[in-house]
């Protein structure tokens, strides 16, 4: 990510665990709290992230936008509660409150999608394997092997499909099924060598795990910060956010001291990923 803004000294390479924790808390809190301010902030900040890292552009932006509008407009069709009626849609009241809830919900869904994209770009295969290896040793290995095999099988399957399309005289459906059958048979055969290779190097259930990650003091500080924000938000949720309602009339958004701090906390959590540095993607040598 070639960011145009520089938070020079704040940015560093973090251990996978705090990064994972950050995104996990973010997503869970977002789903938990359907508050207009929270969801709006989430949408804006994740959108800025994606635009700056150039991951969101062109067609995908248009599709997102269409989906967004669709969710907003569809909600009032199904939810007919609410006091202010805008017009009648096939006999059912199309209310303002339902529309506003639609906006909030659309914000949430959209930003969830975007946060997932951002999450994926920060946490690479190495990180995920490491995270899962710590508690479940064999799982980590399996994930690594899966990451290895997916591109290989995909390439081979494309090849096989190409040959079947040209040389087979069967109907198109049978060609596709044949291609699938050949791919599976081939996959099994080539895996035999891989299994041999694993046994030849002494594969057994008891093993250590090689990694290049180091949990430093900064990682600990980050974890503490994230946990603190989580606890605050949960506390405030039980105190105030869970009481937020849209129907029959939208509850006015409070801007008192405590709620302002909560909004700020949430913003802080969302802005944290800007401090994470991404490992450079390797270019083919």
């Amino acid at each position: 990510m070639d960011a145009t803004f520089h938070l020079a000294d704040f940015r560093r390479y973090y251990h996978p665990f705090p990064i994972f924790l950050c995104f996990l808390s973010l997503i869970l809190l977002l789903v938990l709290i359907p508050h207009p301010i929270i969801t709006f902030l989430s949408l804006v900040i994740s959108g800025i992230f994606l635009i700056l890292s150039k991951q969101l552009k062109g067609y995908s932006f248009i599709y997102s936008f269409i989906l967004y509008i669709l969710i907003i407009l569809i909600n009032p069709v199904f939810v007919t509660k609410g006091a202010t009626v805008l017009f009648y849609f096939f006999g059912a009241p199309y209310t303002l409150e339902a529309l506003v809830y639609g906006i909030v919900f659309a914000n949430m869904v959209m930003s969830l999608l975007w946060w997932s994209l951002i999450f994926r770009s920060f946490l690479t295969s190495d990180h995920i394997i490491y995270l899962f290896s710590k508690p479940f040793k064999v799982l980590g290995l399996m994930i690594a092997v899966v990451f290895r095999l997916i591109p290989k099988f995909k390439k081979q399957m494309q090849d096989i499909l190409l040959y079947q399309k040209k040389y087979s005289n069967a109907r198109p459906l049978k060609k596709g099924l044949d291609a699938l059958l050949i791919s599976i048979t081939w996959a099994f055969e080539s895996s035999l060598t891989m299994v041999d290779s694993m046994s030849a190097r002494g594969y057994q259930s008891k093993r250590t795990h090689f990694h290049l990650f180091h949990f430093s003091f900064h990682d600990l500080k980050l974890c503490i910060l994230i946990v603190f924000i989580d606890l605050w938000m949960l506390a405030y949720y039980f105190k105030d956010f869970s009481n937020y309602y849209f129907y029959p009339k939208i509850k006015p958004i409070s801007f008192d001291c405590w709620s302002l701090i909560s909004y700020l906390m949430m913003t802080l959590l969302m802005v944290l990923p800007s401090c994470f540095k991404k490992e450079g993607q390797h270019v083919k040598g």
Binding site: S125, D126, A144, V145, F147, R148, P151, K152, K155, Q156, D159, I160, L162, Y163, Q164, K166, Y167, D178, L181, I182, T185, W186, E189, S190, T193, M194, D196, S197, M198, S199, A200, R201, G202, Y203, Q204, K206, R207, T208, H209, F210, H211, L212, H282, K284, G285
Partner: protein
């Protein structure tokens, strides 16, 4: 000291023994080369030497290392490098692949880091250390596999045809690393290889396996002497200069040079190139692969009924070129047949034999694979001609590499093609099978089929091709009759070609010269 005594092995439900009466011993630090024709049991022997890979079946006899049963050794003490560089890799990144064996040994992480750092330095893998495995070339992959095996510090290193899928230059680099390992660590190395010309200078002893029995074992000169003076199909696998000089004392090319300079030679007459009309034209073809511009304004004329060989380094775009020829048609394809862009009907007459023939097999037996495509008599004829008659009821995957290629070739020939494209047909098959393949292709050529072959096997091209060309920088350069093509090359020519430069640069193979008494 590795000792094998009275080793016998057969697969379950088989009546004949695959290996019988094997009896030999290797001292510590020796390099043993195992040679033999396809099916002689070389791979099986190698697997018997590694307890984890011991094939399931009936085995009798004793294998001991340092007077103790081989089973007593740990898996890390015997390293194994397989034939296919891609299939044997387990992890997604290079560093992880190197550490895989160490993880299995339950090594503490700090020690692992130390070992991996060392290995990366020794094998010069710094640039690709963090690379995803599928982005490496075959040669790089095989070196990583070698490094991964050596990371475990084995006492014995077993290699099963490691260079068969590599091009000559990458094979040389691999063998260079092997030589360094042998010199630096005094590891006992046992290697099975078909193309053993480059391996001869490294090895000390040779075991010649013939149908599971040891036809000869001992110091390399002795075994080669025995092979040279016997009429045996394995003759074809000998280095060209050895076929000529008929003496086993020349186990490296430097002494071969001196020998050849000291003797008189007579050049056999060469056949002239037949005149042919143009079959296919390619005009200014531009192709991209993975967002790289692979072919740049490539223009090329293919003649009717000729056997053309396209040479070039790995990654130069040869496979991409072939696939385009095989699957593209229409105005934008840049392919012209009789001055018009090639249409779908003509495109059906172009067939491609892929590098991995298994992509064409969709059935459980050879017979089923071919049934329904033609009349039974025609299929029978093809099977007989390609020596596959006895394998009718076998599963295609159970055939040897060369047999699989021939089966795929039959499947394609039943479509009555006009142009046959071959992608590295000689990869991984032994010398006698190469000869069979070459003769079959010559036969097809005489029946009117045009053949375009992509290969880096210089001897094969020199023996069977009419014209050759080099794919370089996205264009096909130096398109000439085979002998003219090689005549102008200093480096990219057969080993015999380099040895006989001074006499006549058109000499490429052993059959081109005879000793003048």
């Amino acid at each position: 000291m590795l000792k094998v005594e009275n080793l016998q092995f057969r697969y379950p439900k088989e009546s004949t023994f695959l290996l019988s009466d094997l009896h030999f011993e290797i001292n510590d630090g020796e390099f043993l080369l195992v040679i033999g024709t396809s099916g002689s049991g070389k791979s099986t022997l190698l697997r018997c030497l590694k307890p984890e890979l011991q094939p399931f079946g009936e085995r009798t006899g004793k294998i001991t290392y340092a007077n103790e049963s081989l089973e007593k050794l740990n898996s890390c003490d015997i390293g194994f490098v397989f034939q296919d560089p891609d299939d044997q890799m387990v992890m997604d990144k290079v560093w992880h692949e190197l550490a895989f064996g160490l993880e299995n040994m339950n090594m503490p992480v700090d020690q692992m880091k130390h070992r991996v750092a060392e290995i990366v330095q020794y094998f010069k893998l710094q640039e690709i250390y963090d690379c995803p495995v599928d982005q490496l070339s075959s040669g790089q992959k095989q070196i990583v596999n070698l490094a991964a095996a050596m990371a475990m510090n084995p006492k014995i290193l077993l290699l099963d045809e490691p260079t068969s899928r590599l091009d000559p230059f990458m094979a040389k680099q691999f063998l260079q690393f092997l030589k360094e390992i042998h010199d630096d660590f005094h590891t006992t190395i046992i290697m099975v290889e078909h193309r053993f010309e480059e391996v001869l200078p490294l090895s000390q002893k040779i075991l010649w396996l013939d149908q599971g029995k040891a036809a000869a074992f001992g110091v390399k000169e002795k075994v080669l002497e025995a092979l040279i003076h016997q009429e045996h199909p394995l003759h074809l696998a000998l280095p060209e200069y050895m076929k000529l000089t008929k003496t086993a004392l020349l186990t490296d090319k430097w002494t071969a040079h001196t020998y050849i300079q000291d003797h008189h030679w007579k050049v056999n007459p060469f056949l002239p190139l037949a005149k042919r009309g143009i079959f296919l034209q390619i005009k200014e073809l531009n192709l991209e692969y993975d967002r790289h511009r692979v072919l740049k304004d490539l223009s090329f004329d293919l003649c009717e009924g000729e056997f053309f060989c396209l040479l070039g380094a790995n990654g130069s775009g040869k496979s991409t070129f072939l696939r385009h020829l095989a699957f593209a048609f229409g105005r934008k394809s840049s392919i012209y047949y009789k001055h018009t862009p090639i249409d779908k009907a003509m495109n059906k007459k172009i067939v491609l034999l892929p590098q991995n023939p298994q992509v064409l097999f969709a059935h459980d037996t050879v017979e089923e694979e071919l049934s329904g495509l033609e009349r039974v008599e025609v299929i029978d004829q093809w099977l007989k001609q390609f020596h596959l008659d006895g394998q009718r009821h076998q599963h295609p995957y159970d055939l040897s590499g060369g047999q699989q290629q021939l089966l795929a070739l039959i499947k394609l020939l039943l479509l009555k093609p006009k142009l046959l494209l071959l992608d590295e047909p000689t990869n991984g098959i032994d010398a006698s099978m190469k000869q069979v393949l070459g003769e079959i292709l010559t036969d097809l050529k005489q029946q009117g089929i045009t053949i375009l072959c992509v290969s880096h096997d210089l001897e094969f091209c020199a023996a069977f091709a009419d014209r050759c060309g080099l794919l370089f920088d996205g264009k096909i350069e130096a398109v000439e009759a085979t002998r003219e093509f090689f005549k102008n090359n200093l480096f990219y020519t057969t080993s015999l070609g380099r040895l006989f430069r001074w006499l006549n640069p058109r000499i490429l193979l052993a059959k081109d010269v005879t000793e003048d008494e």
